[in-house]
């Protein structure tokens, strides 16, 4: 099982590495532009947020946004393409358990999220003096976030019937949730109703604890964030495993 798992992960890593111009480079450019515009040019006019200057405030959110997008994009595109070109059959006819298949694809998403996240961190370090308050919190939040969105991408890929279906969720659900999850602002500045609504957005907890890892400031308890993340991972894992085992949109 270990060899099969390793094979899937290596295949996934080689897949996104071969097309690094499409997968790794663009997020670094996009993020640098975000920082230049929102942090560098507009940030001084906005002032402080949660007690830190705006440029430093938005960096964790922007890094996490790239992790979310890339972890999701990797599994959704890879698994959907495997369905589309029928190469998923290579796995289905092999003695690989469904958990190993799932874990392999999720790990691929996590590795891409990590690669891009590190790339963005390094790029940002050229412009900004980065501070890290607690590396473990950063790592734990990153890992759980990448796992969660890799799982979400996997489930999207299972249901997707066309290329449109793999872009609808990122555009109309993921992007708004990310932007409204406190990436560019602290939810403390929102009216009470919107503050309460934001707490139903799981991305808020991820951004908040990731920011705490960098800046040492947060609006919610770290253990609450971890509990939210872990329960969502558990729920999505069960759903993804069930779909794979039943062969939904894979087997007839």
């Amino acid at each position: 099982m270990w060899i099969a798992y390793k094979t899937i992960v290596v295949k996934e890593v080689l897949r996104f590495s071969r097309i690094w111009v499409q997968t790794i480079f663009p997020p670094i450019i996009t993020t640098s532009l975000y920082l230049l515009i929102f942090g560098g040019l507009m940030g001084e006019r906005i002032g402080d947020m949660q007690g830190v200057d705006y440029l430093h405030f938005i960096i964790p959110g922007i890094i996490l946004m790239t992790v979310i997008q890339n972890a999701y994009a990797n599994t959704v595109s890879s698994f959907f393409l495997a369905k589309f070109n029928h190469s998923i059959e290579e796995l289905l006819i092999s003695p690989v358990s469904y958990w190993v298949i799932l874990l392999g694809y999720i790990s691929g998403g996590v590795v891409r999220g990590f690669t891009v996240g590190i790339g963005v961190f390094i790029a940002v370090s050229f412009f900004v003096d980065m501070q890290i308050d607690n590396g473990w919190i950063i790592f734990a939040t990153f890992l759980l976030t990448a796992i969660l969105f890799s799982l979400a991408g996997f489930i999207n890929a299972v249901f997707a019937q066309s290329f449109d279906d793999i872009s609808i969720v990122p555009t109309f659900i993921l992007m708004p949730m990310t932007y409204l999850g406190g990436m560019f602002y602290s939810i403390e500045i929102l009216p009470e109703f919107w503050q309460m609504l934001s707490k139903f957005n799981p991305i808020y907890y991820m951004v908040d604890s990731f920011r705490m890892g960098f800046l040492g400031t947060s609006t919610t308890d770290f253990s609450t964030s971890m509990a939210v993340l872990m329960s969502m991972i558990l729920a999505l894992s069960v759903v993804a495993y069930y779909l794979l085992k039943k062969g939904v949109n894979i087997k007839t």
Partner: protein, 304 residues
């Protein structure tokens, strides 16, 4: 010794209520070279899909080398190598990687997989292209790649769904030679094909599927014996007379040096003797029809 494949009461009904297989019973002995024939939509690919765990069955039982497919799923998967009808690899992966990955899914480490891939790629004459993307291969090369992939984990049973489709004559012949070699080494081979000549040439036993049912399962020899009529083309040494003499068999002049004869009860040597008595010396005999094709059409009611 358990059968290589044993299928009992296998039924498959798709979600749209199309019944692809109906109460199929089939068995294949170990070491056999078995043909599964049927026209398009007969249920061959559905049956293969179920055997290889690509499709869910509606009911029935599949046993591979005595092991129930449901209870021993992974053991059964280890014993089967599949070369499907449609290309089902990632076209953007290098050829060697495709083989190494497939080996990895079967728990074979990368070093060993690389060695096996080298042997197979050399055998199917794709070694020089090992670093190329699969999309760059021709149709015939892609089929050979799928054959190599089916063999990378050294299965006991090889299932080939239309292996020769889109393959030119030369490559087809070399693929047949390779399949015969594998069968001689003890591998059970099950194939579906549209080239009936392929089934007649390679297979010892045969099942014919029609509308989701097995309508015949027997040895190739017994099946071909059912075709009593032979249509042959005979080529004469000398120029034939414009009007042919009367014979106890049907004869038709095709051109100055060839005739077509239809033999019902008479064998070819008797016919040649009769021709010789009328000063028609034959130097070459060839079949004008594929006997299996005739029989296949008769069994599936395509002809009376």
């Amino acid at each position: 010794m358990p059968e290589a494949l044993s299928i009992s009461n296998l039924t498959k009904t798709y979600a749209n209520d199309v019944q692809a297989l109906s109460q199929i019973n089939l068995s294949v002995e170990q070491g056999d070279f078995f043909a599964l024939l049927g026209s398009n939509g007969a249920g061959k690919t559905t049956m293969i899909g179920i055997i290889c765990s690509l499709l869910n069955k509606t009911s029935g039982e599949v046993k591979v080398l005595g092991l129930d497919q449901v209870q021993h799923l992974n053991e059964v998967k280890r014993m089967i190598g599949l070369m499907p009808q449609e290309f089902n690899f990632n076209p953007f992966e290098p050829i060697e990687e495709i083989l190494i990955n497939q080996a990895g899914y079967h728990g074979i480490n990368r070093g060993e997989a690389r060695k096996r891939a080298e042997v197979l790629l050399k055998r199917i004459e794709l070694w020089d292209k090992r670093l190329d993307m699969a999309k760059s291969l021709s149709g015939g090369m892609k089929r050979r790649l799928m054959l190599a992939r089916a063999l990378i984990h050294q299965p006991k049973i090889l299932i080939l769904d239309e292996p020769s489709a889109g393959v030119d004559v030369e490559i087809r012949r070399s693929m047949w030679a390779y399949l015969k070699e594998l069968n001689a080494q003890g591998m059970t081979i099950i194939l579906t094909t549209h080239y009936l000549e392929e089934a007649e040439l390679l297979c010892r036993n045969i099942a014919i599927l029609d509308k989701g049912k097995v309508i015949e399962q027997t040895s190739m020899k017994k099946l071909l014996a059912k075709v009593s009529q032979q249509v042959l083309i005979l080529e004469s040494v000398k120029k034939l007379p414009n009007t042919l003499p009367e014979f106890d068999f049907q004869i038709e002049r095709l051109d100055d040096h060839s005739v077509q004869v239809v033999l019902d009860k008479m064998n070819i040597s008797q016919a040649l003797n009769l021709l010789s008595l009328k000063d028609i010396e034959i130097e070459h005999v060839r079949s004008a029809q594929n006997r299996l094709e005739t029989l296949f059409l008769r069994l599936t009611s395509k002809v009376g």
